[in-house]
Symmetry: C2
Subunit: 195 residues, 2 copies
């Protein structure tokens, strides 16, 4: 056999996921059919079902994959004092979001479409990512560098603020991304009382 089922999946899987992400971000999960996804990839619907049993499983795989990729990328964060760690997180998060625009949009929009079980899995990964930022905030409070009333709420507020960049930033706009990152870093530092 020139092509095993395994190697077939290895090739087709990422193409299916990319097509599904594109279509769901454009039309919403409920409006996209397995047939449409197959057509976008250029395979028969049957080939899709060889790869994944149903649309819910595909959505869960996309959303879990997104959070796992983000958590893996966050392994590269270097550390340092709390202020340096917060700055690094702010720039990292904006960079990551720019690279994964559709995945970020779907990650927030389609929580409504997950089964309870899949929602719980995505939510646990999201909490793990938020905890990365919460650790930085706690370290800053302990060092007397930050003034924060509620670490969990503050982490969520900062992430929501940073996520907003994707809704308006355009490469063709008046500011370069690194200038935007400077502005958000100033705001984030001020928001946590970091001087």
């Amino acid at each position: 056999m020139a092509r095993t089922a395994g190697s077939h999946s290895d090739i087709t899987g990422p193409r299916i996921e990319a097509a599904a992400l594109r279509l769901i971000a454009r039309h919403g999960f409920a409006a996209v059919s397995m047939r449409q996804i197959a057509a976008e990839v250029g395979v028969q619907a049957g080939a899709l079902y060889n790869y994944i049993p149903d649309k819910q499983t595909l959505l869960a795989r996309l959303m879990i994959g997104h959070m796992e990729d983000l958590l893996e990328a966050a392994q590269t964060l270097q550390g340092g004092d709390p202020l340096a760690r917060l700055e690094e997180f702010v720039r990292f998060h904006i960079d990551q979001n720019r690279e994964r625009g559709d995945a970020v949009f779907v990650a927030y929009m389609e929580l409504r479409s997950l089964t309870d079980e899949n929602f719980a899995r995505v939510e646990a990964l999201r909490r793990a990512y938020e905890a990365r930022l919460e650790d930085v905030l706690v370290a800053g409070v302990e060092a007397g560098a930050f003034k924060i009333t509620d670490v969990r709420i503050t982490a969520r507020a900062l992430i929501a603020m940073l996520n907003g960049v994707n809704t308006w930033f355009r490469e063709s706009g008046p500011r370069r991304l690194d200038e935007v990152q400077d502005i958000y870093w100033d705001m984030a530092r001020g928001a946590v009382g970091g001087g």
Copy 2:
């Protein structure tokens, strides 16, 4: 005639809009049909077409109506010094979002589904609302109370941060809404260098 076409529309219109908003927030615009909306209201599909010509017009009416309601509500903002005005805006925006959860969600999610013409109308209203906050920020900079590099970006960042409350706040949670507003006000003040 006991019921004119006018009074019929007056009664049915808000019910149709409420049903459409609920369904679109749950399933996404592309997945919801006029027939489903009619069934949710408890009328025939024909009755819906008496009220509104098509689904795109209905979506535009929902999104434009939301922004117009928000702008009208913002007329009640009292003023005062820049710090007091910013605090008032922060609490106002969170209150408004809590009252209009589905409308806020649809307002961000379904920009993708608007025709260019309707997008431009919604975008103009959104800009007018952002300008309310930008005026406060400019006043604060001029008074030497705020330190801001880019007023437009700062306004968008603050609004994104405040919008985040809707994604996690629950009445049954550990914090009351007014405590959450206190926390966001502290963060917003810090983010603009307001001490």
